[in-house]
């Protein structure tokens, strides 16, 4: 996996080091974590700014955990689980879907940039989708960072 830190030079211009993002990913053990693992063994390249926490099921994710990440300085959070119908525990991801929808709406309502919180369905065979998901997540969080007001913390 390639890193994305270090100086980013524009034509003739030296820029300050780009901030290394802190993104937390909650991955369900059976699908998303396996999918991420597949991406790894397949040597797929994607940003290393995501820190993965393995959980049994996306349905285990208490929205408080997502908030805790933001409170403790995370720039972005991802919750990833099995596709609906494929949950190892039958329906955990279906509960998660409802919870995260409400959570996302409330985060946005309080002015927290929506791009910082993502949810995805990644199955065990979707190594490429995993890499794409992380790439798009990092892009979104960076965009949020660029637009963020100076000196105002995420949370």
């Amino acid at each position: 996996m390639s890193g994305s830190t270090g100086t980013v030079k524009k034509t003739g211009e030296a820029k300050a080091p780009v901030k290394k993002l802190k993104i937390v990913g909650f991955l369900c053990n059976w699908c998303s974590y396996a999918g991420a693992d597949l991406a790894g063994v397949s040597r797929m390249q994607y940003p290393d700014e995501i820190r993965i926490i393995r959980v049994p099921c996306s349905g285990r994710i208490n929205p408080l955990l997502v908030l805790k990440c933001f409170q403790q300085g995370a720039d972005g959070v991802l919750v990833s689980g099995c596709h609906p119908g494929d949950c190892h525990y039958q329906e955990g991801n279906l509960y998660a879907r409802r919870r995260m929808l409400v959570l996302r709406s409330m985060l946005s309502y309080f002015g927290i940039d929506e791009r910082r919180f993502h949810m995805s369905w990644v199955s065990a065979s979707e190594g490429k989708k995993w890499a794409d998901t992380v790439r798009s997540l990092v892009e979104d969080v960076r965009a949020a960072e660029v637009e963020a007001q100076a000196g105002v913390p995420v949370w």
Binding site: Q71, R98, L101, V102, G111
Partner: protein
Amino acid sequence: MAAAVRKTAADLLAKTAVDLVIGYGRSSGGEIVPEFVSRPEQAQALEWNQDCTYNLVRYLTDPEVVGDAGAGKGSGNAASKSATASKAGVGKVAIVVKGCDLKSLVVLESENQVQRERLTVIGMPCRGVTDQAGKLLAKCEECPPDVYNPRRELCDLVIGEPVQRTGDGPTDKSAARKAEKNDPSGQSSPYGDVEQIDALKPVERRALWDGYFARCLRCYACRNVCPLCYCKECVFDQHDPRWVSPAAAVASNRSFHLIRAYHLAGRCVDCGECERVCPVGIPLRRINRKAAKVVEESFRFRAGLDPQAKSPLVTFATEDPQEFIE
């Protein structure tokens, strides 16, 4: 109607199994206060007027008020329940409710937090309640007929005739006028106040709410007055793990309000008590109504209507929206 309330309460206490009537009384300072009457002759203390703003359903989950009369259906067999209830000294409980209060009772019932058969629900047709300056509360201006006249099928008794509200109170016309005021685009919406905030840019929303959260004292009056915040150990009182710092500051206050609203999503019935009690004037209804709007639009559910309904966040539908999911 106050006289009818007094007579009803006295009769219930004297002639039925009701041990406690929860209603409205008056302090010696002249203010309307919650009143707990346990003997027929005390029923004279009960009042009913437009200062009766409190949602008394809150007390049904307070064991120091109702003893174990509030114990849920799932907690042990009937014999042990009545034994516990008589140990606590409180058997059946009667409660005076307005239509808005009644909706919160419906949710409590659906969550097994009250034994409905131990309750005598006294419904009060209501012309609206007022604030400290005598002005009708905003929630009353928007109140529909099936709330200001409590639904009979949910009450054991209804005192007085259904009220007709015209002029100051809501009619179809005034409700539309009010909605128009909230949403000048002309499309009347029940969530106009929330949509006004949705329409702001994210940085404006952030500034708006952070301004309120800077004032928040973390007195927890909003939580403690809420009939649906009944957890024996609230998440905000947990030490291990401690989810949110108890110290009042914008970030932790934001966490508190977001989490509380999240815990009320699909449960809050907009009784408005939280906003009424906030000493620093945070528009809390606009937070809870946002969650209610999301739940209604995404899961087609409104709280407080069906005592058998399951809360939307403990269920799911196969066709739930997922456009936000990659």
